[in-house]
Amino acid sequence: MKSGTRTITISHLGRIEGHGGVFVKVVGGSVRDVNLDIFEGSRYYEALLKGKHFLEVQGIITRVCAICSSTHTVAALNALENALDVPRSERIHRLRGLLVLGSTIESHALHVFALALPDFLGFDSVIAMASKYRKEVTFALRLKQLGNRIQEIVGGRAVHPVNTLVGGFGKLPAPADLIRIRADLAAQIEPLMEFVDLAARIPVPDWSARPLVHVALRPYEEGFRFRGTSLCTSRGEEYPVSEYREVVREFTVEHSHAKHAALASGDTYVVGSLARLRLWGHLLTGNAKQAFGRLFPEGVPDNILWNTWAQLVETVHCVERGIEHCDLLLSMPQEKSEMVEYSVKAGRGIGAIEAPRGTLFHEYEIDADGRVLFANVITPTAQNLASVERDLRIAAEHLLRLEVEGGTAKLKSGLEMVARAYDPCISCSVHVVRLPADADP
């Protein structure tokens, strides 16, 4: 097998969101090409937004991606409010925070338990896994359901929120609903920590390890947070969010419908749970801190396969932080709706947020009538794609050396596992909203 050319093809990656495949070309026993082929169709959101009224933006842009719809919503609303100089009340800030926590719980529970865990336990799907691990699967689905319920109560719908507006909310959650959510969140901590113990005993393979540059937003206040104002790298660099277009350089590759990204230095980087823990894991508190110590006793390794456990730690954090948010919201005076007064004016604004899969940027420019002139969205998965290919190469080289043991099937499942560890969201990655050609970058 040392001589000659062969191609290893995974024509359609399973258990990820969207449509993509992996192609590895091996020549004379060494890896020549590694392509992550994204064949999801383009929906050209940028063209859809142009000329739309700013009040329509959230309802359109949230539909870039279902799983991330709440974080796209919050990023878009923050960007638009920054453009219009709309102040944010404490209640709006907290409610959006709770919405993001709910969406992160849902997204992480989906990925950790339903999409990634079958790899670690040797099943082809969560449905098959339920035959042996009924209790665990039922717990995971309940947890996911709770994430959805939070989004329903705050956002009005689990997928593509409707209640979220520029300047406020159509309807505020009833205190009884917040009390119920709080109790349900509190009930998750014990089973989650039991699962952390179980996870700590599941070995994580090391065949995709390589030096990584991690990138995440600096939390807007002391603590582990999903919203922030500057962009930090694990090499110690820090840039204000306003410079994101200078820092994140995007480029096209022939084999993919999605753009790739690198830092201005040319280095590829990773965003997401692993990066957040690497940069800000020391800020975790309570059970999340314990879970972090239990699952990452020697710190955060440079190996993306650990991303799944990083998501698990963040899930514990989101549950605890969700309880804090409910308490804060319940302590506020009771109202039916909340809407800040503002007037329409021309402006440009950026909204950056840590989505479940990593840093997400939205930027809009609107004219004096409130029509969209310019829109730009950079999604986490688009930023990770170049790294996914690097990791697939490392993994393919490593697995080829071990190939005697399992043949091509083992190699393929190993590569799938690496791609899946990133929790790629391909709908998001393809539907990068770009700058209009005439706009100055």
Binding site: H12, L13, G14, R15, E17, G18, F39, E40, G41, S42, R43, Y44, Y45, E46, A47, L48, G51, E56, G59, I60, R63, C65, A66, I67, S69, A114, L115, P118, D124, S125, V126, I127, A128, A130, V137, T138, L141, K144, Q145, N148, G156, R157, A158, V159, H160, V162, N163, G170, K171, T252, E254, H257, K259, S413, S427, V432, R434, L435, P436, A437
Partner: protein, 267 residues
């Protein structure tokens, strides 16, 4: 329903063309109900959730979400149709075209240059159109995304051998039964509820937000009454038509929107 499989369990496939995967996510969001359903049917092809799929077997029941936006989508859709006994379109994209079909008036090469800022080679891209334009579907469940209860209700009906009954009333009707204040009459907003098919229990107006028309047009909307209602409140018909177009542009044009708009300039 009769099954193609030996164990008597109907074989089910769930597929996504170009889209946000929101309707597949709503199926996953059925959680416990999905686990129970999986005991009665055999889900054999669902790439989003399984890694070992049978892409060739005959299917008793299949669901498709999304638009056809690539040649690859079209080929996949035709294959799915050929192997499925009962095919159900799920979500507004598959039924009406949804957001991706909003601006089919702009040629794709113009869009490509605008979005990618350069000529992209080998890009597979065609005008986005609803899956229902290309192959016949036995049933259609609209919604952006679909409502979980409608999906479950439809599956159970189909398995019992009866046609699923989906609401034919407009969102407006459901809004009245929930005793919401009308977004048009009381707030002067551009609300699509009178022309949009119900089933969502007037979700948006119940949150104090105007209906955005995400479920597509109701059968035989009363254009004349709508035009009068909006005109009386100084809302131009063009505004409401543009809002309806967001989610169902292809069918909206077929329904004679252009004539209704009359001499008004399209933006």
């Amino acid at each position: 329903m009769k099954s193609v499989s030996r164990n008597g369990k109907p074989k089910v496939g769930i597929f996504g063309l170009t889209g946000c995967a929101g309707d597949q996510l709503q199926i996953l969001n059925c959680e416990d109900d999905l686990l129970r359903l999986s005991e009665r049917v055999e889900i054999v092809d669902w790439v989003m959730v399984r890694s070992q799929n049978d892409h060739n077997c005959r299917l008793d029941l299949a669901f498709v979400e999304g638009v056809v936006a690539t040649q690859r989508d079209l080929a996949a859709l035709k294959e799915i149709r050929a192997r499925s006994r009962t095919l159900v379109a799920i979500g507004t994209c598959a039924v009406w075209g949804g957001l991706p079909a909003m601006r089919n008036d702009i040629p794709r090469d113009v869009l490509q240059k605008e979005v990618f800022r350069q000529d992209v080679v080998l890009m597979d891209t065609v005008e986005a159109r609803p899956a229902s334009d290309f192959v016949p579907f036995e049933y259609m469940i609209p919604g952006c995304p679909i409502e979980r209860h409608e999906f479950l209700k439809a599956v159970h009906a189909i398995m019992a051998g009866v046609s699923p009954e989906l609401p034919k009333v407009p969102v407006c009707w459901e809004c009245k039964t929930r005793e919401n204040l009308c977004r048009v009459v009381y707030f002067g907003e551009v609300c699509c509820g009178a022309m949009t098919r119900g089933g969502c229990q007037a979700r948006c107006p119940s949150h104090g937000v105007a209906c955005s028309g995400c479920r597509g047009p109701v059968e035989e909307p009363n254009f004349d009454a709508n035009i009068t209602m909006f005109k009386d409140r100084r809302i131009s018909w063009l505004e409401i038509a543009r809002r309806m177009e967001n989610f169902s542009a292809p069918v909206w044009f077929k329904m004679g929107l252009e004539q209704e708009v009359g001499g008004e300039e399209r933006h």
